[in-house]
Every structure is written in structure tokens, then in C-alpha cells.
């Protein structure tokens, strides 16, 4: 099985995990996106959203497990086919949560361009933005090295 190990700077990344855990707590009750359910039936819509929420929770648990004992022992995280898809989705969920929370002051266009005026951010926003970028980097690493689409580039 194709796998990658990534050595991270513990001092830099460990503080970001607090933000990820806080976002994860919020995502236990709420979906990261506004899911438009293609049916007006209330029971159907409720079942649809509950299933999405259950999947989202499972993905985030996988992400948090990646940053487990081994990460705190030597700064290494291990990614492979067994966890890469869930980690990708969880990163997306947490990034969306950060955007709608701590980074809500940032305009969409600014965030999308990547040209964020870091010096103008508050301390909380700065940390949230660092987390936002870190999770994007993790996603790019997975896409580049593990190619979860299974179709190559």
C-alpha cells in the first residue's frame, strides 16, 4: 500500500491542533457546508443531514487519530489509502468551519487569492489562518503523493 510519512515541526503544529479540536467539537452538531437537500420531505431531509453529519464526524475522528501518540513522540504523521480520503474531507470541513468562524472577517476574494494581509490579522485570526494554510498543505500533499482519485494526473 502506498503511504507517506510527514515529519512536522511539533512546536509549530501542536498549537494548531487546539484549533482543529475546537472546530471538530463544533462540527459534531453542525455540517461544515449548508447542505441543500433535494427533497422537501422533512424526514428525508433530516435523514440526509444526519447521515452527512455522521460521515463528517467519522472523518474528523480519523484526522484527530493521525495526530496521535506518534506525532507527539516524534512529530511524524503517517498517511496511506486507509486514512487519506477521510483526512482530505476532514481538512476541508475544518477549513470551512474556520472560514465561517474565526476567519469570517476575511473576504472571500482575499482568501481565494491567497494574498491575505497577515500583518492586519488579530492574534486569533493569525493562528486560525496558519491552521487553515496548514490543512491545505496537508491536502495538497495527499493529492500529490497518494492520488485518491485513482486516475493519476
Amino acid at each position: 500500500m502506498k503511504s507517506i510519512e510527514v515529519r512536522l515541526n511539533l512546536e509549530v503544529v501542536a498549537p494548531l491542533l487546539d484549533l482543529i479540536k475546537a472546530a471538530a467539537d463544533g462540527l459534531k452538531e453542525e455540517l461544515a457546508i449548508t447542505a441543500v437537500v433535494p427533497d422537501s420531505d422533512a424526514d428525508f431531509a433530516d435523514g440526509w443531514r444526519q447521515e452527512l453529519l455522521q460521515d463528517q464526524t467519522g472523518d474528523i475522528q480519523v484526522l484527530l487519530r493521525v495526530f496521535g501518540r506518534e506525532f507527539f513522540a516524534n512529530g511524524i504523521i503517517a498517511l496511506d489509502a486507509s486514512n487519506s480520503e477521510a483526512v482530505l474531507r476532514a481538512c476541508s470541513a475544518v477549513r470551512l468551519r474556520l472560514k465561517s468562524g474565526l476567519l469570517q472577517r476575511m473576504e472571500d476574494e482575499v482568501l481565494e487569492s491567497g494574498e491575505v494581509p497577515v500583518q492586519k490579522l488579530t492574534e486569533d485570526e493569525h493562528k486560525a489562518f496558519a491552521c487553515y494554510v496548514f490543512l491545505a498543505t496537508l491536502q495538497e500533499l495527499i493529492i500529490e503523493h497518494l492520488d485518491p482519485s485513482g486516475r493519476g494526473v
Binding site: I33, L88, S92
Partner: protein
């Protein structure tokens, strides 16, 4: 999977649909809307994985989402379209189901 949860909108008594009704049943579009958060490479990867698109086609749809705000990524029967919308929402893409009736 939500497919098991998905309602079939055709009741047993409606099996003999008229030709226009039958055509309408196939005319459902899965539309992906732009969001400022998900990476372009992530959206391309999701399109490849979910729809089996090759790289150029996946990129084309991603760019359409990015530049025009929306892209129709699949058209067909309602039940399958619902399943695709659900899968895309699992990947945290903003996906909606639209009927050709609207246009």
C-alpha cells in the same frame, strides 16, 4: 450510503408514464457551486473520483465553477443525481440538484 435512503419518486401506480413525463424523469442536473475555501486541486480530485472524469475534463469543470460560479457536472435520472449530490456534499462541495423544468 444515502442511496438506500433515497426515495423513489415514481409510485407503483405511475409506472406507465407518458412520454414527456418519462423524459422529464431523466432531466436532472447535478450542479456544483463555487466556494472560496476548497482548493482547486481538491475539487479536481473529487470530480475525478466521483465521476471518473479524466484530468482535463475535471479541470474544465473546476474552472467553470471557479470562473462562472457553477458547473453542471452530471445530467440524468433523479435517483442517481441525488446520490451524486449526496456524495459531493460528503466531500463538502456545494452541490445542488436542478430540474430542466426550471429553464
Amino acid at each position: 450510503m444515502i442511496v438506500s435512503n433515497s426515495k423513489t419518486h415514481q409510485q407503483p401506480g405511475q409506472a406507465a408514464a407518458t412520454a414527456p413525463e418519462a423524459q422529464l424523469a431523466d432531466a436532472w442536473r447535478v450542479v456544483v457551486l463555487n466556494d472560496p475555501v476548497n482548493l482547486m486541486s481538491y475539487v479536481v480530485m473529487v470530480f475525478k473520483k466521483v465521476f471518473g472524469f479524466d484530468e482535463p475534463r475535471a479541470r474544465q469543470h473546476m474552472l467553470e465553477v471557479h470562473e462562472r460560479g457553477r458547473s453542471t457536472v452530471w445530467t440524468g435520472k433523479r435517483e442517481q443525481a441525488e446520490a451524486y449530490v449526496f456524495t459531493l456534499q460528503q466531500w463538502h462541495l456545494t452541490a445542488v440538484l436542478e430540474s430542466d423544468e426550471k429553464h
